[in-house]
Subunit: 300 residues, 2 copies
């Protein structure tokens, strides 16, 4: 099988992740030098990212519509939040279908996969899901950088009808951005990110809700005393609410399952604390076991 | 009332916090220049901190015993973890009582106050509790620094029998370290730190327990995908288990109360996620409300 490389890529959405992909493609890497013949068009609802990218000559055209962006593309990258991504998939199977080439591969970058893959199957498009496991606190095209994905995993999830060639195209994209492509099925992906990404987000927001629900004078005192521990544990709760809600809503089942496990562990801590004066050493063993699981993993 | 200043300070325990106090006293600040006549002795069970401090001429003597350290001191600083601090308070009312001057003020630096104040009342010593609200991930004397407390709150908690002069001595210590002394009663302090410091610690450890309780192959995959969100939310779980257990055990009631509120909020998220496909906008409003409470507080 020859390595399929796109000659024209379209981005629908161009914020932090889409912008970073464009920058990485233009910068190239040792494994994948930049391709001067590669054409890139981008569209987003507000147009800010595409116009900034065009002004910096990172893309060839800020398209006026999704139709114009995807026209002639071998690869369409949906670089939008989860709910918007699903809406775009629906449109690619509907009003945008005639502009989409029959051989064009569609991929996405959002952090939930089963719901997007299901939508792609409904839409009957050539779809291979993607999820670059990288991010930063700040969103938007201005925060994008060519090295965002360097040495990070980039999950690749085949759709029902995706061929080896379609999948190879998305693997190429990951590699061209300096990431390590890793194929998983959608369910395995979704439960893994529910555990290490979506649960931490809700745990962070819930911490704010539990503490800040006290009356205002309590909360003002607490805030004035808060140090780096509190700051670190509430950093995720400062993130974009729309993005977080989209992630939670589209991975609700796996996330609710993880939250149930988390609730049970919290409940168990409450019981352990009721016995604390009798057995502080037991609390130490428990914290030490958690620390060891985190630190001494075979992966380290 | 004249400002009481100690001419001799004894430290029992000399790790990160004790070491940083010594460094701050020796460095001085604009408000409180260093006092060349101030004598400092320190003792710790292992002796590492005191010997390192003596070698660096930060203290006058690494004492061979607690008796030797506190002999002649106007101020005794218990710079140990919570359970060890309570044990030292007990000893100051017991076998160390004869070495303790009748006018000597005892203070501590640990992050729980009601249990320590109760122990001091049992021991009938002149005690004013202290809690500098600062810390870092690394423990031990080698990690200490003169600017650890700069502009941070330093809670001061009067004991039952502490006079204004005793309290002023501890306020002096806080100010001399560049911190802002803030008087609170023990209960108010303990519920505030249960909320913004101890709850985050247990929430972090519980996150590891909930996720890493899966089988090893799940956990290995999850670890390999984990990014900055996971790292940030589990940083506290990497801390010293003995310190964490001591904090939890000595502030068990307030902490269990906060954990109960946290569990209820988590439970409420599970219910919200079950309704997610019907109302993703509700999740967004909820996350946005938490973000606003965190970010748009009148304090900012």
């Amino acid at each position: 099988m020859t390595q399929p490389r796109p000659s024209a890529i379209a981005f629908l959405g161009l914020g932090l992740v889409g912008g970073s992909i464009v920058r990485a493609l233009r910068a190239g890497s040792t494994e994948s030098p930049p391709d001067p013949a590669l054409r890139i068009k981008a569209w987003s609802p507000g147009g800010r990212g595409p116009h900034a990218a065009a002004a910096q000559r990172l893309i060839d055209e800020a398209a006026a519509s999704p139709e114009e962006a995807i026209d002639g593309a071998d690869l369409v990258v949906l670089a939008a939040p989860p709910i918007e991504t699903i809406a775009l998939v629906d449109r690619l199977g509907g009003d945008l279908r005639s502009a989409l080439g029959s051989a064009t591969v569609v991929t996405d970058v959002c952090s939930t996969k089963a719901a997007v893959v299901r939508a792609a199957e409904r839409a009957r498009i050539r779809f291979v899901g993607g999820h670059p496991m990288a991010g930063r606190e700040t969103a938007g095209f201005d925060a994008s950088s060519a090295d965002l994905f360097l040495d990070r995993p980039w999950i690749v999830v085949r759709g029902q009808g995706s061929s080896d060639e379609d999948t190879a195209m998305v693997r190429w994209l990951a590699t061209a951005c300096g990431a390590r492509p890793l194929e998983l099925d959608a369910t395995t992906h979704d439960s893994a990110v529910a555990a290490i990404s979506h649960l931490p987000l809700i745990a962070s927001a819930a911490l704010v809700e539990a503490v800040a629900r006290g009356d205002d004078s309590d909360w003002r005192l607490q805030r004035s005393l808060a140090a780096s521990g509190w700051e670190g544990m509430t950093r995720l709760a400062r993130g974009d609410a729309r993005m977080g809600a989209g992630i939670a809503a589209t991975n609700a089942e796996a996330l609710a399952g993880m939250l149930g496990r988390y609730r049970d562990v919290i409940e168990d801590w409450i019981l352990a604390l009721e016995a604390a004066e009798r057995d502080a050493a037991a609390l130490e063993r428990r914290l030490e076991a958690a620390r060891a699981r985190l630190v001494d993993s075979p992966l380290d």
